[in-house]
């Protein structure tokens, strides 16, 4: 996995993505623009973060889950 290690720790890019969607749902293009990450990286990370319950989809947008907020956002 690229975003989440075997120990459940997140990569720096994954943390940046979650931070970007902690308050409101955003589409990948907006997240890419705000985080300066490539769009392909945001899209692939979203699949992985959603599978690990860090973000949830709202239409074409994503927002951080309570699980992510509890674990990541300070």
């Amino acid at each position: 996995m690229a975003c989440v290690t075997d120990k459940g720790e997140l990569s720096q890019s994954a943390i940046a993505i979650i931070e970007a969607v902690k308050d409101e749902a955003k589409e990948p293009a907006q997240i890419a623009s705000e985080t300066k990450l490539p769009l392909f990286k945001v899209r692939s990370s979203m699949r992985e973060l959603e599978a690990n319950n860090y973000v949830k989809a709202e239409g074409d947008a994503y927002v951080a889950t309570d699980f992510a907020k509890a674990r990541i956002i300070k």
Partner: protein, 221 residues
Amino acid sequence: MTNIENAGQEEVRSLPRIGSPAPSFTAKTTHGELKLEDYKGQWLILFSHPADFTPVCTTEFIGFQEMYPTLREKNTELLGLSIDSVHSHIAWVRNIEEKFGVEIEFPVIADLTMDVAHKFGMIMPDESDTETSRAVFIMDPEQTVRAIIYYPSAIGRNMDEILRLLTALQTADEHKVAMPANWREGERVIVPPAPTQELAAERMKDDSLECKDFYFCTKEL
């Protein structure tokens, strides 16, 4: 691209051609699992190389990386591929950074199953059936194949030509024009031939064009 099943139910997979949809894929890469659809809305240059830790490929990777910032300004991403493992790719790009001072930022597919290589026709069996050749596929934001280049194993690719080709494709799309031989950004472009006698006559009176005859007109952008 089309898939055809013959009478024996054996699948015959045709190779992508210019103008056909790019074959979809899901692949392990140095940046995690990537799908073709992750690049939707952007131009994509997918290229293969024979093997990691080889000298010609190393010069190419350095060349691709040097071009990468310019490509990203043109809404274009780079994606490499070879029949090597992710760990081999990681070790190689780390070696390139250590020995040549160049950080490889674009992802590289680890195509150990040769799935993507077969889908795109990157293997030339009479040259090598265990390595990919030097193939380049340029795909537009709708993920249609727009250009294909093949080089043999012993010859490194010309990065200037790849960038020129991409720029020409993007400019041609934007302005509905064509490009003459050896065209470079900023040079005159070719206006598509007039489709009717009436339009041909009108074109010859158009002061904004430079025409040798009705079928050969150029203009500045």
